[in-house]
C-alpha cells in the first residue's frame, strides 16, 4: 500500500524470476501478510529484512509453497515463477519445490550419511541415471557448498556428526544438488558462529552466479554485505523495496529509516 508502482521501473533491468502481486497470507483469521507486491530478479541476491514477526519468513515460505504443510494457512493473490502462477491448481508443489529450493534457519541434516543427504534430492527427482552420475552430482554440490575438501574422506559418515557451520553448508549443498532455479534461505546464519557465518555468506555470493537467491535475515549488516536488492517488511506490509545501497543510504519511507537506524525492531 505504501510502495509506489514507479519504483518497479527503476529496478527492472535484469530478468524477473519470480513476482508476487497482491499477496495476502492468513493464519486462520489472522492476516500475516497484506498486499505484498514484489519482483525477484534472476541471478541476484534479494534480502528480506524487518523486525521479528513482520511476516518476512511467512512470505518466503509462500514462494515455494512450504505453507501448504500448515493446514490453517491460506494464501491469496498471485505469485509467479517465470510467469507461471505457482498456486495454479495444476501445479504440483513437489515439482515447484524442485525448482525453488529452501534452506532453513537451523541446520537440519537428515540422520543419514553425508553422501545420502546430498543424494536425497537427486534420487527422489530422478536426476541421475547411474551411480557415477550421482557421485558426480554429490561432488559438484559439495564443491558448490564449499564443503568438499572438508568431507571428501568421510562421505559415508552421518551428516549429524558435522559442526554447526558444516551442517548448514551441507544443507545448502543438499538444496543445490537438485539444481533449483531459486534458492530460498530463511535466516541461514542465525544458528552459526561468526566464522561459519562468513563462510556461508561467501558461499551465497558465489551461488548467485547460477541461482536467484532470496535470503531472510535479522542482520542488516548481512543484508548489506550479501544482497543486491532489499525488501523491508513491517507488520505484514512490504514497506520499501529497492537496490540495497539505496535502502541503506537513502530510504524513502520513514519506517525504513527508523528500522535501519535502530529506532524500531
Amino acid at each position: 500500500m505504501f510502495d509506489t508502482p514507479k519504483r518497479e521501473a527503476a529496478v527492472t533491468k535484469t530478468d524477473i524470476k519470480m513476482s508476487a502481486r497482491n499477496c495476502q497470507v492468513f493464519y486462520g483469521d489472522n492476516q500475516a501478510i497484506k498486499d505484498v507486491d514484489v519482483d525477484i530478479d534472476d541471478k541476484t541476491v534479494t534480502a528480506f529484512i524487518g523486525p521479528s514477526g513482520c511476516g518476512k519468513s511467512t512470505f518466503l515460505r509462500c514462494l515455494n509453497r512450504m505453507n501448504d504443510t500448515i493446514p490453517i494457512c491460506r494464501v491469496e493473490g498471485t505469485i509467479t515463477l517465470d510467469g507461471e502462477d505457482i498456486y495454479d491448481p495444476k501445479v504440483d508443489p513437489v515439482q515447484l519445490r524442485a525448482k525453488v529450493g529452501m534452506v532453513f534457519q537451523k541446520p537440519n541434516p537428515f540422520p543419514k550419511s553425508i553422501y545420502d543427504n546430498i543424494a536425497y534430492g537427486p534420487r527422489i527427482h530422478g536426476l541421475a541415471r547411474s551411480r557415477a552420475e550421482l557421485d558426480d552430482i554429490v561432488e559438484k554440490s559439495l564443491r558448490r557448498g564449499a564443503l568438499w575438501d572438508e568431507v571428501k574422506d568421510r562421505l559415508h559418515e552421518p551428516g549429524t556428526g558435522l559442526s554447526g557451520g558444516q551442517q548448514q553448508r551441507l544443507c545448502i549443498a543438499r538444496a543445490v544438488a537438485t539444481e533449483p532455479e531459486v534458492l530460498l534461505m530463511d535466516e541461514p546464519c542465525s544458528a552459526l558462529d561468526p566464522i561459519a557465518t562468513a563462510q556461508v555468506e561467501e558461499l551465497i555470493d558465489e551461488l548467485k552466479q547460477n541461482f536467484s537467491v532470496v535470503i531472510v535475515t535479522h542482520s542488516m549488516q548481512q543484508a548489506a554485505r550479501v544482497s543486491q536488492k532489499t525488501a523491508f517488511f513491517h507488520l505484514g506490509n512490504l514497506v520499501e523495496y529497492g537496490e540495497t545501497g539505496q535502502i541503506f543510504t537513502n530510504p524513502r519511507d520513514p519506517r525504513t529509516e527508523s528500522y535501519i537506524t535502530g529506532r524500531i525492531g
Binding site: 509467479t80 495454479d88 504440483d92 513437489v94
Partner: protein, 453 residues
C-alpha cells in the same frame, strides 16, 4: 501468463529447467501415484483397526445380548401337604427334609394341568417329557419359597419358573426344529407345546434380572447361571486393590518424585517399577500362589488373595500415573509454599498433592479398570472354582471363596452346553459396561479438573 510456450515434453533431466510448472511430468505423476498408494495403505490400516474393534464388539454383542432375556413359564403350583408336610405338623425341620426331588411331581402335575387348561395339544408326550420343559432349577426355587413361607403349604401359588435351557434357546434362535429333532435333550413336540403356551400367554421371554444376581449353576442348567457371586467377588477385589494400591502407590510416588535423592538406590527402584509394569500378569499369579497361598496359608479362591495379587500388578500403573500428575504441578507452587516457611512435607501434603489429585484419581481408576479385566493370575490362585455361595460381608467375606467376573467368563467358555457361550458373552457385556463406566468417570475427572498452568 499461462501460455508461455515451453518445449519440454520428454526432455531428460538437465533440460528440466525449461519445463513448465503447469505440466506434470511422468516422474512426478508416478511419484504422486506412489504417494496416493501409500496414503491409501495408511487409511486401509486405520480402517482395519476400526473394523477389528467393530467386529470384536459386534461378535460379543450378537452372541451376548440374548443372555439379558430369559424365558419363564408361569405355573399355578399346588403345594400339596401330602408331599411336603406329611404329618401336617408344620415343623420346619421336617419340611426341610423333603429334597428338591420331592418337589418334582408337583411341578409335573402343574405343568400338565396348565397345558390341558389352555387347550394345548399335548402332542402325545408323556407327562414327564412335558415337565422336562421346565428347568431342573425350578424345584429348588419352589423349595426355597416353601421353606421361607411354610404357612403357604396346602395353597396354590403362582410361580414364574425358568423354562429349560433348550426351550429358552429356541426363542433366542439357538435351537430350531431341525436341531431339536437330533437333540436328546429336547424334541420338536416340546417346542410346539412351548409355542402354544407362548400364544396362550403362559410362557414368555422377559428381562433377565437373575443374570446379575443369581450365583453360578451346574453344567446342566445354563438357564439358571448368573453373575451374582462373580460381581460380588470382583467388587471385593477392587475394594482390596483400592484400599491397598492407592495409598501405597501415592506414597511411593511422593517419595520418588519429591524426596528421593539422585542415587543408585532411587535408580534401582525406578528401573524396578518400570520393569514390573511389563512383567506378564501370569507371573503375578505364580507369585500369589507361591507366597500368599502356599507360604502364608491364605485360603484359595478368596477375594483377599486376588486383591493382593491385583494390587501388586496395579501398583506400577498407579505409581507411573501419580508421578506424572505430581510432575505436572509447576515448581512455582512448591517455591511459593516453601517461601512462606512451610516444611517440605507440608508443601507436598498441603499444596502439591491436592493439586495433583485429579490426575492421581484418573490413574487409579485406569489401574482399577485394568485389574477388573485381568484373568490369568486369578486362574492360578483358584478363583476358577465352582462357587455357589455368596461371600459374607467384608472383612470376613474377603476370605470366603468367590469368583470374579473375568474368571467366571472363562469358566463358562470351558463348559459343553452352547448356552454357556451366550452367558459368557453376556457377562463380557456386563464387564465392558463396568469398564466403560470407569473410563468415562476417568475422562470426566480429567476434563473437569484439568488445569493448564
Amino acid at each position: 501468463m499461462t501460455d508461455i510456450a515451453r518445449n519440454g515434453s520428454s526432455a531428460p533431466a538437465p533440460a528440466r529447467r525449461n519445463r513448465s510448472l503447469l505440466e506434470v511430468d511422468d516422474r512426478t505423476r508416478r511419484r504422486n501415484a506412489a504417494e496416493a498408494r501409500f496414503k491409501l495403505m495408511g487409511s486401509i490400516a486405520v480402517i482395519i483397526g476400526l473394523l477389528a474393534l467393530v467386529g470384536l464388539l459386534t461378535s460379543i454383542l450378537l452372541n451376548g445380548m440374548s443372555s439379558f432375556r430369559q424365558t419363564y413359564v408361569s405355573l399355578e403350583v399346588y403345594l400339596d401337604p401330602a408331599k411336603l408336610d406329611k404329618d401336617g405338623s408344620g415343623n420346619l425341620e421336617k419340611i426341610a427334609k423333603v429334597t428338591t426331588f420331592g418337589y418334582k411331581p408337583l411341578i409335573q402335575k402343574a405343568m400338565v394341568a396348565t397345558v390341558a387348561a389352555n387347550g394345548v395339544d399335548d402332542q402325545g408326550l408323556k407327562a414327564k417329557k412335558i415337565a422336562d420343559m421346565i428347568s431342573p432349577e425350578a424345584p429348588a426355587t419352589i423349595r426355597d419359597y416353601v421353606l421361607a413361607n411354610p404357612d403357604k403349604i396346602g395353597e396354590t401359588v403362582r410361580f414364574d419358573l425358568l423354562a429349560g435351557g433348550r426351550i429358552d434357546g429356541y426363542y433366542k434362535g439357538r435351537v430350531t426344529m431341525e436341531t431339536a429333532a437330533l437333540d436328546r435333550n429336547v424334541s420338536p413336540e416340546q417346542l410346539r407345546i412351548a409355542d402354544a403356551l407362548r400364544d396362550a400367554g403362559v410362557l414368555d421371554t422377559r428381562f433377565n434380572w437373575a443374570f446379575f444376581t443369581a450365583p453360578d449353576a451346574s453344567d446342566t442348567r445354563p438357564e439358571a447361571a448368573g453373575l451374582g457371586v462373580a460381581i460380588l467377588g470382583s467388587a471385593y477385589m477392587m475394594l482390596v486393590v483400592l484400599v491397598l494400591a492407592l495409598p501405597l502407590g501415592v506414597a511411593a510416588s511422593i517419595y520418588l518424585e519429591e524426596f528421593a535423592p539422585q542415587n543408585w538406590f532411587t535408580d534401582l527402584i525406578e528401573v524396578n517399577i518400570s520393569n514390573l509394569a511389563a512383567v506378564p500378569s501370569i507371573v503375578f499369579g505364580i507369585l500369589g500362589l507361591a507366597v500368599f497361598i502356599n507360604y502364608a496359608g491364605l485360603p484359595q479362591s478368596a477375594p483377599i488373595v486376588g486383591g493382593l495379587v491385583l494390587t501388586l500388578m496395579t501398583l506400577p500403573t498407579i505409581i507411573i500415573a501419580t508421578r506424572a500428575a505430581l510432575k505436572a504441578v509447576p515448581p512455582s507452587i512448591r517455591e511459593a509454599a516453601l517461601g512462606v516457611g512451610a516444611s517440605k512435607m507440608q508443601t507436598v501434603f498441603h499444596h502439591v498433592l491436592p493439586l495433583a489429585m485429579p490426575g492421581i484419581l484418573t490413574g487409579a481408576i485406569i489401574g482399577l479398570a485394568q485389574a477388573l479385566g485381568e484373568t490369568a493370575p486369578l486362574l492360578l490362585i483358584g478363583m476358577v472354582a465352582f462357587v455357589r455361595e455368596y461371600p459374607a460381608a467384608p472383612p470376613e467375606g474377603l476370605f470366603d471363596p468367590a469368583s470374579a467376573l473375568p474368571v467366571q467368563i472363562y469358566n463358562w467358555t470351558t463348559r459343553g452346553d452352547p448356552a454357556f457361550v451366550e452367558r459368557a458373552s453376556g457377562a463380557i457385556i456386563v464387564l465392558l459396561v463396568f469398564l466403560l463406566i470407569m473410563n468415562i468417570l476417568a475422562i470426566i475427572l480429567r476434563r473437569r479438573f484439568e488445569r493448564r498452568w
